[in-house]
């Protein structure tokens, strides 16, 4: 009886040890994933990406930008897809989180063009049409 109890103790100890290790690794992976795909980071990346695409474009061009990741993040944070990207003057603002009256992330482009932004929720894309600046 004594020997069997002892063996049982060892097994329970090992199981607890393994479970704790799995919990630890899970927390670490979740932390890394949350950090790497956070709304704040996505806002910055998207705003800069869009500004650079506009800088490199010429009037008459248009491009589609897949915003699937941003769409999911915005949906999670209660932001409407149509209001993720806004343009004020020559500044692009991306907002994926409405909490705490956040203004989102803004980045300016130097290309003196007019940009028409159209959201396509069905394909989680945005269409950017580059037009000649109207005086």
């Amino acid at each position: 009886m004594r020997i069997r109890n002892k063996k049982g103790d060892i097994l329970v100890g090992n199981v607890i040890f393994i479970v704790l290790n799995i919990i630890y690794i899970s927390i670490l992976i979740t932390f890394l994933y949350t950090k790497a795909s956070g709304a704040v980071l996505l806002e910055e990346v998207s705003a800069k990406q869009i500004a650079l695409l506009i800088d490199g474009a010429q009037p008459g061009m248009w491009f589609y930008l897949n915003m699937e990741e941003a769409y999911d993040a915005a949906e999670e944070n209660g932001v409407d897809f149509s209001s993720i990207i806004t343009k004020t003057g020559n500044t692009i603002t991306v907002k994926l989180d409405d909490s705490g009256e956040r203004a989102g992330y803004s980045y300016s482009f130097f290309n003196g063009v007019d940009v028409d932004i159209e959201d396509i929720p069905k394909s989680k894309e945005y269409k950017f049409v580059i037009e000649e600046k109207t005086p």
Binding site: F17, L20, Y24, F31, K35, A36, D55, N90, F110
Partner: protein, 174 residues
């Protein structure tokens, strides 16, 4: 120390190691993600290409820059001619975050004319970067050359373009 005692000591050390690793990973992740993405080099390159496209189209010099005798015009506003807008959110107009310098020479290397736009204070910072290229707070600069022709006079011009982008607040952790 009996076997159980040894196991307990080992597991204490094991969890101490796990905590140290967790703290290390967190510190690295926070350090990495707290730095903004630095896109200024790409931006300076795009600006340089845009200036080049504006000055020379299909190998021919932009007629707005030159008179019928093949003389480069003086005091031109590059931002207007090339359709640029140097206003940047979060900065005052006096602290422009862009710089463009264009030098026109003949093919023998004699300077004919030069023009600039944006913040001229960035020029020495751009030129001095050959030794200190990794200094993040300096503007990121791009330099390029091209040769273009004036069809009416059949003159060739060598053009040097330097562009700089500062925008440190949005691209560097200060």
């Amino acid at each position: 120390m009996n076997k159980r005692g040894v196991e307990q000591v080992i597991s204490v050390y094991w969890f101490a190691i796990l905590i140290i690793v967790a703290v290390g990973v967190s510190a690295m992740v926070f350090t990495f993600y707290s730095h903004p993405y630095d896109v200024r080099e790409v931006e300076a390159n795009i600006l340089m290409n845009k200036i080049a496209d504006c000055i020379s189209e299909m190998g021919t010099i932009n007629p707005l820059l030159i008179d019928s005798q093949g003389v480069i015009k003086k005091d031109l506003d590059l931002t207007k001619i090339c359709g640029l807008n140097f206003e940047v959110v979060g900065y005052e107009k006096v602290h422009e975050q862009y710089y463009v310098f264009v030098k026109f020479s003949d093919l023998q290397g004699n300077e004919l004319e030069n023009m600039s736009a944006g913040n001229n204070n960035l020029r020495p910072l751009c030129l001095g970067q050959e030794e200190e290229k990794d200094e993040a707070r300096l503007p990121k600069c791009s330099k390029g050359n091209l040769v273009t022709t004036h069809l009416a006079t059949r003159k060739d011009y060598s053009i040097e373009i330097i562009t700089g982008v500062l925008k440190a607040k949005q691209n560097v952790k200060i």
